[in-house]
Each structure stands twice: as C-alpha cells, then as structure tokens.
C-alpha cells in the first residue's frame, strides 16, 4: 500500500505556505533566501510525486532543472548578500530601502 500523490501534494502545499510565511515575516536576507529554497523544494516534491503518478520521467527532469537553476541562483544571491554586507554591515532587508518612492 503506497502513499498516493495527493498526500505529497498536500505536504508540498504546507511546505510552500511555510516558505511563503518565512519570506513575509523574516528580515534576515539569508533566511528569506532559505525560505525561497524551501518553496522550490516544495514544488520539486510535487513534480516528483506527479511524475510517479503519471508514470513518466519528465517530472524528475524538471526537478533536475530546478535544482540547477536554484544552485546558480544561490551562488549569485549569496554573492550579492555578501557584497551588500561588506558595504552596509547588515543582512536585514528592511534597512535596504533606498528604492522607496
């Protein structure tokens, strides 16, 4: 007796919601970044579950692409955070509000 895809989807929805909450409530740029990763992972889970349920492999391929892009995103994003930190000595996104209108 195996776990149906619906459960994975529901779990992914929960994780996605947690990630979204993290982005909205945390000030630390690094934690926000992690929240984004969590959301990406939640989506990946739906891909894999759907891939199994539909009997195809494209879902797993999509997951691999997401991972690659996420890896690239993390390197650049972290480099930006480090650069910002060098200049501003803060990782709090609330203090980076120069673009306010």
């Amino acid at each position: 007796m195996s776990v149906g895809p619906a459960w994975y989807m529901a779990l992914a929805a929960v994780l996605f919601g947690i990630g979204a909450l993290g982005i909205l409530t945390r000030r630390n740029a690094l934690v926000m970044f992690m929240s984004i990763e969590l959301m990406l992972n939640a989506v990946n889970l739906t891909f894999v579950a759907a891939s199994r349920a539909l009997g195809g492999i494209e879902g797993q391929v999509a997951v691999l692409f997401v991972m690659v892009v996420a890896a690239a995103e993390v390197t650049v994003g972290l480099a930006i955070i480090v650069a910002v930190f060098r200049r501003r000595a803060t990782a709090s996104v609330d203090e980076l509000a120069e673009l306010a209108g």
Binding site: T25, V93, D94, L99, G101
Partner: protein
C-alpha cells in the same frame, strides 16, 4: 567591344574613389592628372564603342550589370544606342577638356584634390544618367548630378553667396524632381516596369491620351527644373558662383541638357501627347526670348553667359517640343562646344583679370590675350549663327523645322528669330565690352594670357565649334542618320526641315537677323562705353526681379508658415502633448509612489496576495 561600355563608367568611378580617399595625399597637380586621365580614357573607350554607330551598322543593345530591385524588375543596365553614345561622347569629351583646363584654373586652391573628386563624381553621375537603360538608373544619375552640381556650386562654401547659390540650385531642382518622380510612379503603375524598351514599346496600347499628357507634363516639370526652363530657371544664374570650369561643364554643356535628353529619350511618350509637346515647345520659345532679353542687360560676364545658356536651352526645348529631336540634340552638341568654349574663355579672362567678373572693368583685352580672344571670337560668331560655324547649322535647322510645322508654330519661329537677333546683339556686347575699346581695368591688374593647360582646351573647343556643324548639313544629314536607330526603334516621327527653296530663304533671313544684331551691337559698343541706366536697364539687369517675386510669393509664405509651425504649433501643441504626457505621468507616479516602500517584504505581500487572488478566481470559476 561595345559590351564593355561599363568601363566608360568604371574609369571615372575609380578616379572618384581614389580621389575621395587619397585626394589630399596625391597632391596638387597629380590629383588633376589622375582625374583627367580617367575621363580621357573613358572618352577614348566611348569613341571606340561608338565606331559602329558612326559606320551606320551598329545596333542598339542593353548591357545588364546586375539585378537591382528584382521585385520591381529593375536592373542596373546600360543602354548603348546612338543617342546615349552621342551624349556620352559629349560628356566625356567636353568633360575631359574641362578637366585639363581645371588643372590650370584651380591651381593653388587648397581643396584642389576635392574639386577633381567632385568633377569625377559628376562625370560618373552624368554617364549613369545618359547610359541608363531604364528610368530607375536615369533617376539615380539625375539625382547624383544634382548632388554634384550642389557640391560644385558651393565649392567655395566659405563665400556666403556661393553657399546660398548651391542651396538654391538644390531646392529648385527638388521642385522639378518631385514632378519627375511622380511621372516615374505613374509610368511604373501603368507599365509595371521602368525599362525604356518596355515602356516605349507598349506606350501606344497602355497609355490613354490623358494619362500620356499627365506623364509627359510631369516629365516636363522635371526637365524644366534640371534644364532651367521658364518657371524654374532661377537657380542657373546664381550657379555661376561656382568655379568657372564647373559653370562650363555642368551649367552649360552637360547637366543642364539632361532635360533635353529626357524629352528626346521619351519621344515615344510625347508622340502620344501632342498638347504636352506643344507646351514643351512654347515653354522653350518663351524661355529663349525671356532669357535673351535679360542677358542683354547683365554686367557680369558669367551671368550673360548663364542667361545665354538658358536661352539656348530654350531653343533645344523648342526643337524637341516640335518633335525635331535630331535638331534638338544637334544643337545640344554644338552648343556644348561653343558654350563651354565661351565659359572657359570667360574663365580665362576672369583668371587674367584677377577674379574680376564685371565687364565694365574690362575692355581692350584683345592684344593681351590673343588665344583667348581668337577662340572666343569663333564661339561668338558660332552662337550668333554666322555660317559656316557650328551654331548656324543647328540653330537654323531648329528654326526651319519649327517653321515647317506651320500654323501657330510660325509664332514660335518668329520668337526664335527675335531671340537669334538678341543673341547676336548681347554676344557682340559681351565681346566688345571685354576685348575691344579702351582698358577700364582696376588698379594693379595686369592681364596676361593663361597657361597652356588652359588655352589648349580652348583651342580644341574652338576647332570643334567651328567645324561641328558639318556633321549635319542639309546636303549630308550625317547626324540624323546616326541618331535614326534610336527613334526608328519606337516609331517616333521626326519633324523635318522643309524641302526646296524654303530653307535657303529661312537661312538667309536668320543670317540677316544675326548680322543685324551684330551690327547694332558693334555700333553701340564699338566706341566708348555707353551708360546703361534707367528703369528698363534696371529691370533687365535684375532679371525682371523674378527672384524677388518668387521670394515674396513663394518663399516668404513658406517661411511664415514654418515659423507658425515651429513657434506656435510645435512649441505649443506638439510640445504641449509631450509635456502634458510627462506631467500626467509624473502626477500619476506621485500618487503611486507610496506603494514603492523599498521593503522587499511588502512586495512579497503583494505577490502572495496576487497568488491568493488568482486562486480565488480560478476556484470561483469552478475548478482550474
């Protein structure tokens, strides 16, 4: 051999490119040698290529270089037939002589190399114009000669009058070009092609009478612009601001005859529109008379020649309007020789008088400049129509042909005759004021004969002016036979001089008129310089104030309108719209600006709210 006529264009083109890029480095005399050599080579090649026609056994044919606009069926192709051959020979021949002359004339000019660059560009353009096998190539050449004319008129652009003259020539030519361009569009929409063969072959079937008239009248506007005919002639006198060789080459011998060439080339179209042809002839006759009267009162030696050119072009128009294409082209050729000679002689005089152009300050140059005087005297008699010089034959043929048409054409003949008398008179005036009588030179001017580089072309042109008439005498119509293939091909009906005794009577009449003109001139100017003041002289000298009339009736309203557009319409309405948009955007953004908090997390709330909203929308639509 004749397939290589593209070489005729290629050599001046090479000269142009070489001078364009290396003109300054090549240096003063060598740039002139290079330019002249390429044109001389072109002339020799053209001469060789034209041998077949001279022998009477050549066939007109087309040389396709490459496809230009395949979708329009437009090729870059050259047509080698007697008409284009004659034009090519005139262009390269006179062009070569004037190139050589310019080496002497432009000596010491800081932009010596650039001058020859432009001259070569002009030769290339003019060859494109006359050699093109379709109206497309013709038009390209047409515009390019306009460009080189502009560049050369304002060659001394630091002189404000020269710059203004160049601009004027350019603008006035554009007016004519608009008509020409519309004519080309009409032709293309009617025939679906711009190739001469296609158009002229099918003209009788395709064109209705009205359409033919429209097309030919529009062509006439273009031709009048380029050839300085009546309403659009005003640029040519001002074009004398350019260096004298330019006046000789472009504004007397070659470019201004492009209109004549165009009408002659389009003979098959004018055949279908007798009204247009009559209008062409009338315009020509009126221009001839009008310009001749103005020429009588000019003080500036080059302006006399300029108005004379306009007048002679009027003759040619009269001829081609009367379907006497051979006579028109014949006059074109002879005129090219003697008018170029006159200009070059005038240039020689100006050169000798240290750039003085006012004839009142000349006089008595005969002994100082014998060669110039002798050659100019030939040209004087030639243009006056004294046999057996070139001008007599061609002008007389035109008058005879016009007379032979009968009816209202007789009036045109009378005008032509009066013009002939006036021509003889003002040319005599020019000669006497310049070469005879007592010197009236300004202080410090020491006239001297020009260098050999300048006199050699004078002599060559003098010989041509003297004998060119014999190519088409009533006893031996050589030139007519030469040109026949061109017009035969499309069944253009040529007007012919009358038979029997009539031409002799006409010739005697015109010679008598010419002699009378010379006699009056000699009487009036043979002695001391008469005072030329008074209302009449004032009007004539200023060309009946046509420029001022144009200025107040056309240019001034245009200026006013553009001022209104610039300072009222553009500043208030256009800018108002732009500024209003800007103000509106600014106000709008001011209202929206608080949304831009700079806080990433606030934006995140927006994104998530959007996602939630979309989900609600999907679900309310009943499923995804």
């Amino acid at each position: 051999m004749t397939d290589v006529i593209w070489l005729v264009v290629l050599f001046p083109l090479i000269g142009f490119l070489a001078l364009l890029f290396f003109g300054k480095r090549i240096g003063e005399p060598r740039a002139g040698y290079l330019g002249s050599a390429t044109v001389i080579v072109a002339f020799v090649l053209a001469l060789i290529a034209a041998f077949d026609f001279i022998g009477g056994e050549g066939e007109a044919h087309t040389v396709v270089l490459f496809e230009w606009m395949p979708s329009l069926g437009l090729d870059v192709a050259f047509l080698w037939d007697p008409l284009s051959a004659a034009m090519t020979l005139v262009v390269t021949g006179v062009g070569a002589l004037i190139h050589v002359y310019s080496i002497g004339y432009m000596h010491g000019d800081p932009r010596f190399g650039r001058f020859f660059t432009y001259l070569n560009l002009f030769i290339v353009s003019m060859l494109l114009l006359v050699l093109g096998d379709n109206f497309g190539v013709l038009f390209v050449g047409w515009e390019l000669v306009g460009l080189s004319s502009y560049l050369l008129i304002s060659f001394w652009f630091t002189k404000p009058s020269a710059a203004a003259a160049g601009k004027k020539a350019f603008v006035v030519n554009r007016v004519g070009d608009v008509g020409f361009l519309v004519a080309l569009m009409l032709i293309f929409s009617s025939f679906g092609s711009l190739a001469y063969g296609e158009v002229f072959e099918h003209a009788p079937e395709v064109l209705s009478g009205g359409m033919a008239t429209a097309v030919t009248l529009l062509l006439l506007i273009g031709a009048a612009g380029k050839s300085a005919q009546l309403p659009l002639y005003v640029w040519l006198p001002d074009a004398m601001e350019g260096p004298t060789p330019v006046s000789a080459l472009i504004h007397a011998a070659t470019m201004v005859t492009a209109g004549v060439y165009l009408v002659a080339r389009s003979g098959a179209l004018f055949e279908l529109a007798p009204t247009s042809a009559a209008i062409v002839a009338t315009v020509g006759a009126l221009t001839a008379l009008f310009a001749a009267t103005i020429a009588v009162g000019q003080k500036d030696i080059k302006r006399v020649l300029a108005y004379s050119t306009i007048s002679q072009l009027g003759y040619m128009f009269m001829a081609v309007g009367a379907a006497a294409y051979v006579a028109g082209v014949f006059h074109l050729v002879t005129h090219a020789f003697f008018k170029a000679l006159l200009f070059l002689g005038a240039g020689s005089v100006i050169h000798a008088m240290a750039d003085e152009q006012d004839m009142r300050k000349m006089g008595g140059l005969r002994s100082k400049m014998p060669i110039t005087f002798a050659t100019m005297a030939i040209a004087w008699l030639a243009i006056s129509g004294i046999p057996p010089l070139a001008g007599f034959w061609s002008k007389d043929e035109i008058l005879a042909v016009v007379f032979n048409r009968g009816g209202a054409w007789i009036a045109l003949w009378v005008i032509g005759l009066i013009t002939a008398g006036l021509t003889a008179f003002y040319m005599t005036r020019l000669m006497y004021m310049t070469f005879f009588g007592a010197p009236r030179w300004a202080d410090g001017v020491e006239p001297h004969e020009s260098p050999a580089l300048m006199t050699m072309p004078l002599v060559a042109l003098g010989v041509a002016s003297a004998f060119a008439g014999f190519i088409n005498t009533p006893w031996r119509l050589g030139f007519e036979h030469f040109l026949e293939p061109t017009f035969e091909r499309f069944e253009v009906h040529l007007a012919h001089p009358p038979d029997g005794i009539t031409p002799w009577i006409l010739a005697i009449v015109s010679v008598l008129v010419a002699l009378a003109g010379i006699a009056i001139g000699r009487r009036r100017y043979g002695g001391a310089m008469p005072a030329e003041t008074g209302l009449w002289w004032d009007r004539v000298e200023n060309g009946y104030y046509v420029d001022d009339v144009y200025g107040t009736t056309l240019v001034l309203p245009g200026k006013r309108a553009s001022q209104v557009m610039a300072f009222a319409f553009d500043a208030k309405i256009i800018d108002g719209i732009v500024n209003g948009t800007g103000t509106a955007v600014r106000a709008f953004s001011k209202a929206l600006r608080p949304l831009q908090t700079g806080l990433v997390r606030s934006y995140g709330v927006g994104i998530l709210a959007g996602a939630v909203g979309l989900l609600i929308w999907f679900l309310s639509r009943g499923g995804v």
